[in-house]
């Protein structure tokens, strides 16, 4: 005599057979529902990627450089040169700014440096 489990297995086997013989209208509709659900999942994943755009871009960047070592070395050298150039420009601007600051902070008024008589007096004074 079959026990409960064997009876259940026999019944389930017949149910499987029934499920495998579904009408094509039903299987088509199920397939469409499945595609719709998968589309929702993909849409959700795209939205999540949008929210984590920075992290995603950083990951892509790192992955790319990990796989292209020669290119990454050249890119790093170019980046270093660019940074050096920008830093030099910045330094020069600051130096000019400091010159102006010196004139403005001086005890002499700025107009004195434009006065020809002042320059004459300054030369005579220095010769003495």
């Amino acid at each position: 005599m079959m026990d409960e489990k064997n009876t259940a297995k026999a019944i389930v086997s017949l149910l499987d057979e029934s499920a495998s013989r579904l009408d094509s209208n039903i299987t088509d509709r199920l397939a469409r529902a499945r595609e719709q659900a998968v589309g929702k999942l993909a849409q959700g994943a795209r939205t999540a990627r949008g929210h984590n755009g920075r992290a995603g871009a950083a990951t892509l960047f790192m992955d790319y450089f990990t796989h292209h070592r020669v290119f990454s070395s050249a890119a790093l050298a170019c980046s270093a040169l660019l940074i050096a150039f920008v830093a030099t420009q910045q330094f020069n601007k600051e130096a000019e700014g400091q010159g102006d600051a010196f004139l403005l902070a001086s005890e002499l008024p700025p107009e004195a440096f434009l006065d020809k008589e002042f320059h004459t007096w300054l030369e005579e004074s220095s010769q003495q």
Binding site: A8, A37, V38
Partner: protein
């Protein structure tokens, strides 16, 4: 997080069984298709971050809940049109109508002979499944058709493991009795059923 391919593979694997088990519950192909579609979309929308290994349990819970929502709507709709709606008394309690209690009054004049074809056997089984109380059918389907263990079935049904065992035992016994009443012995059933 599961990929779209994993979700597609999972749904391909379960969609037919999900449809059939929903038909047994709601007895309406169109409603069953809507319910399965809703369950698929809910799984994709709300549980996309979960690993694919959790999908069987999650999908079954969603499917059962969607079926219950359908029953509630039907119950409300039928309240004023009929006194005895199809699922009017089928709440989730254990004291549901047991088909064994009414088997004696069933018509046995259409008992098939011992050479009944498999399709007829399947039709009888499906009809018997529809007659089972909702919780017994649910337990049987999850435990044996979805091949969940007792603990998983209990979690999916939101009840104790003891209740699952009781529901399964009653369901199998009721089905076996119905089949025998229709002239299908357990031995014949064993021959027609292929071991999984």
């Amino acid at each position: 997080m599961a990929t779209a391919q994993e979700l597609s593979d999972f749904l391909t694997q379960v969609e037919r069984r999900a449809f059939k088990q929903t038909v047994y519950a709601v007895r309406d192909d169109h409603a069953a298709l809507d319910i399965v579609q809703d369950a698929m979309l809910k799984l994709a929308e709300k549980y996309s971050s979960r690993p694919a290994s959790e999908y069987p349990m999650l999908f079954q819970r969603i499917l059962q809940n969607t079926m219950r929502d359908y029953w509630r709507r039907q119950k409300t709709r039928n309240l004023w049109t009929t006194l005895f709606s199809s699922f009017g008394s089928s709440d989730e309690d254990d004291d549901e109508r047991d088909p064994l209690e009414v088997l004696g009054s069933e018509d046995t004049s259409d008992t098939p002979d011992t050479q009944v074809e498999r399709s007829q056997t399947i039709a009888i089984i499906e009809s018997a499944l529809q007659e089972l109380p909702a919780r017994q059918r649910e337990a049987f389907v999850l435990r044996y058709w979805e091949d969940m263990d007792v603990a998983e079935t209990a979690v999916a049904m939101g009840c104790s493991q003891g209740s699952v065992k009781t529901h399964c035992s009653r369901a199998v016994r009721a089905l076996a009795v119905i089949l025998e009443k229709n002239g299908i012995s357990r031995e014949e059933l064993g021959k027609s059923g292929v071991e999984r």
